[in-house]
Symmetry: C2
Subunit: 326 residues, 2 copies
């Protein structure tokens, strides 16, 4: 983790007792006046910071803002996902940015957020609605030493990580709709997009793109998405701090990535089964031009869906549009 001064300040003033200006200046190797000036900059961003002659500095509240230094301040410990973070005000698509960084040799674990995307991507080239300041739209760079067929594991793992973070942070009960959607009460609250650059037998790098509807109101959705999409705000009526949710998601992503690399993917699939609204149900799946109906039996150790068709055969399904028949 490359720690900036703001990262270290935010980490120190977040502790319950805060920290004195003198101690902070000493730790950072800068003057007390410079410390004061950093505090003023953070206040200008909306951070509420208590400061008293004897009490030192203490963080009271953080704005609903994605600040790379602050996200990194909250992600302590040795981790891969989130060891470098960048936040863009606006970009075409965070995956475009991370793809360029990946080609330039940036290490895995880099995360790029955007407050808004002008060309956010969903699966199969679809657009992803990502209005400014109301959601989390980000892409994680991973370099797993695996074959392309293993990429499916990452969508399963990411769905599990998202569910954990949404439960912890917003108290909701999300469901996974295979392969890559997270729903609350049947409507999509988050989506996962995996893109990879690969040779035949080796993933060069993998872009894990995630979008979460956090504080969008019903009016923020275009008409055609209203019946299909939801947000944490709509579901809980509470405003959720996006930075806290982002930190929770990155921490969980780091955990599941550790699990995959440690050969513990099966444990993740078991957690996935418990979250999976699709499991055991009758589904209609559209794969290219083909329509397949059947009952969802399981996912295999590569993350592929096993569907029992009406003829009793098991079909291995890699992707496609799932329609759940009630």
């Amino acid at each position: 983790m490359s720690e900036t001064i703001d990262t270290r300040i935010l980490s120190a003033i977040r502790k319950p007792g805060g920290i004195s200006g003198g101690d902070l200046a000493h730790q950072l190797g800068i003057s007390r006046a410079a410390v004061w000036s950093h505090m003023e900059e953070l206040r200008a961003l909306g951070y509420e910071i208590e400061a008293g002659p004897h009490r030192g500095y203490r963080l009271i509240s953080a704005p609903d803002l994605l600040h790379a230094d602050d996200l990194m301040a909250q992600l302590t410990g040795p981790l891969v996902v989130g060891r470098e973070i960048a936040v863009f005000q606006e970009t075409t698509s965070t995956s475009d940015i991370v793809d360029k960084l990946a080609r330039d040799g940036v290490k895995e674990g880099m995360v790029v957020f955007a407050e808004s995307q002008t060309r956010g991507r969903g699966r199969l080239g679809r657009r992803w609605h990502s209005p400014p300041g109301k959601g989390l739209w980000f892409t994680v760079l991973l370099r797993p030493d695996m074959r392309p067929s293993a990429a499916t594991r990452f969508v399963i793992a990411a769905a599990v990580a998202l569910c954990r973070a949404l439960r912890e942070t917003a108290g909701v009960q999300p469901e996974i709709k295979w392969p890559n959607d997270v729903l609350i009460r049947g409507r999509k609250v988050a989506g996962i997009l995996i893109e990879m650059n690969a040779e035949l037998d080796h993933i060069n790098y993998l872009l894990l793109g995630i979008g979460v509807g956090v504080n969008l109101e019903a009016r923020d959705y275009p008409a055609e998405l209203k019946p299909l999409a939801t947000s944490l705000r709509i579901e809980t009526r509470a405003l959720v701090n996006r930075a806290s949710l982002a930190v929770a998601i990155l921490r969980e992503l780091d955990q599941v990535y550790l699990a995959i690399r440690g050969g513990h993917f099966t444990a993740l699939t078991e957690e996935w089964y418990r979250q999976c609204g699709t499991l055991g149900g009758q589904v209609t799946i559209k794969v290219g031009d083909r329509i397949i109906q059947g009952r969802v039996e399981a996912i295999d150790d590569e993350g592929v869906l096993l569907l029992r068709t009406q003829h009793g055969r098991i079909e291995r399904i890699l992707g496609g549009d799932v329609t759940v028949i009630k």
Copy 2:
């Protein structure tokens, strides 16, 4: 195909009888003086063009030069591979260029050549030796509407196309070493590198990178490659016109791409078997850290190698380093 004036001129003067200056000016809708000036530019590039007051213009010989307009002039007819061609004097890697073009939405079939590459790529991040003016180093952009697992077919198909073009143009008898090398008398003359950008169930685009040692002399190879690599020049003692070879390869690639899209991959595998020096032989394969020994039985309909191990089991091999045991 976007026809430039040079493309149309080269196409016309290549015809056995040539074409009169007046007819050419009329066809192109430019003045006779402008036609003359284009001829002078082509002559400056090394094109030998006959011109007489009554005979008109006729191409006598073309330089050993990759000229995009001329390559396109020789690739007539409706085709996908080669409908747009660009030639760079030097680039890091032609696949880098085509990758950027692909992200910008360029249509499939685009081909980028470079006279030399400073960071030519081989498989698994290895370097590819590509000195100026002596070989063909290029990348083709394809957008097959297929799953990532189908990418293996393209390496099989490209190897078949390369063998056809090398036989036709240089009269050599190439062999395929699975998965991606073409050999003459046991030494590598050409290599194929497939990279793809994919979602879990869909190839967004595929970069088919090809390198052919054409006119390299033994002294052009670094010491460590000398025992492993060869060129058409070394094998035949003749200089091969690189443009003619390039045109032959692109034409064959277009044919095999058509075959794959038409569902005729099996016919290609049969041709591949006949070319495959590896088939039936005992091989040692290194896949990651694993060493597998066995006899090459076949390739399946996705292009995966089926190896019968010493225990009699069939293993599906997707990639890896093949060492042929004599």
